[in-house]
């Protein structure tokens, strides 16, 4: 597939749109269908597409495996960290009302932050698992 001109150019054109769409899905998740889980998977799919077309090494130069591993752990930390911050502000664990003066705004910020944590974890995990499977297949050849 790496020699196919149309596939190479097509993948290159489509990737920015996939990434933008993932961000849209994340930030629009409050108003329509979507959220961190879906956005993370779509973002990982963009890199999987690039890896399928351009090869694993090319993608790992852009997004090294250590970065994917760090993302997987960082997302959980963001999620749990939001809870700790609301506790330090004197509310319950994950009580987002503490994050702004208006409880509704607090909820909004809290949900966005927490969903961002989910996005980062899901993106990191999916990319990492894909790297592991694809990398092991490459080593045997």
């Amino acid at each position: 597939m790496r020699d196919d001109f149309i596939v190479r150019v097509g993948a290159r054109i489509v990737t920015p749109f996939i990434v933008t769409f993932a961000l849209y899905v994340h930030f629009h998740g409050d108003f329509g269908p979507g959220g961190g889980f879906q956005a993370g998977v779509i973002l990982a799919a963009a890199f999987a597409l690039l890896a399928l077309v351009y090869g694993l090494e090319a993608v790992q130069r852009v997004l090294p495996p250590w970065f994917a591993r760090a993302c997987a752990a960082l997302g959980v930390l963001i999620f749990a960290g939001v809870g700790v911050v609301t506790m330090l502000l004197g509310h319950n664990y994950l009580g987002y009302n503490a994050l702004a003066h208006d409880p509704k705004h607090g909820q909004h910020y809290g949900i966005l932050l927490v969903e961002f944590g989910v996005l980062v974890t899901v993106f990191g995990v999916m990319t990492m698992v894909f790297y592991l499977f694809a990398g092991r297949a490459g080593r045997d050849e």
């Binding site: 269908p33 959220g35 889980f37 899901v122 995990v125 999916m126 698992v129 499977f133 092991r136």
Partner: protein, 180 residues
């Protein structure tokens, strides 16, 4: 009566059919990847059962429709007739149950994570045994166990023979052969 029962229970029956197809794949096929696919089919059928329960006849997806009058600023250019209409429908609009959706949403992502662990295990099994078929793995295991047992029995015989010096001299050549 029968038609009513069919219409109101068709979902459940298809869910059970899918569940049984997945279950059958899981217990009757020896290939590990096929088993994982069967597990996925089973899993999706459970998702469908939950979503079926959350559905309400004539409902809409659980995304709140704001009455335009109290809306968040946009839509101010609407005519008053539109406002009336929106307010009226928003008051008696019927939403589907959001709770099963939330549970299944997270379950899908956890499901793919678990599937990837299963696939990783299958890959390691293939590397260790050279096959993914359950029957062959069992055969290899049995052969290894038998060989192990035979070797263990041989050691016990040697030990027993070792207690009788005279016999030991008698069987020494074969014992030496086994050691070599």
């Amino acid at each position: 009566m029968i038609i009513d029962l069919f219409v109101s229970h068709y979902n459940y029956w298809v869910v059970i059919l899918l569940m049984m197809v997945g279950f059958y794949t899981l217990i009757s096929r020896g290939n590990l990847v096929k088993k994982i696919v069967g597990l996925n089919v089973f899993q999706t059928s459970v998702f469908m059962l939950y979503i079926s329960m959350g559905r309400i006849k004539g409902g809409t997806p659980p995304i709140l429709v704001e009455p335009k009058g109290t809306g968040k600023g946009h839509g101010g250019a609407d005519t008053s007739g539109g406002v009336e209409m929106m307010g009226e429908t928003a008051a008696e609009i019927l939403y589907s149950n959001p709770l099963p959706h939330v549970l299944i949403l997270t379950a899908i992502v956890v499901g793919i994570a678990v599937t990837s662990v299963g696939l990783a295990l299958a890959v390691r099994v293939k590397e260790a045994y050279g096959t993914m078929e359950e029957d062959e793995i069992n055969r290899i295991e049995e052969e290894m166990e038998e060989a192990e047992w035979r070797r263990g029995r041989g050691e016990i015989i040697h030990e027993i023979l070792g207690k009788f010096p005279a016999r030991r001299a008698l069987t020494a050549p074969s014992g030496a052969e086994a050691d070599a």
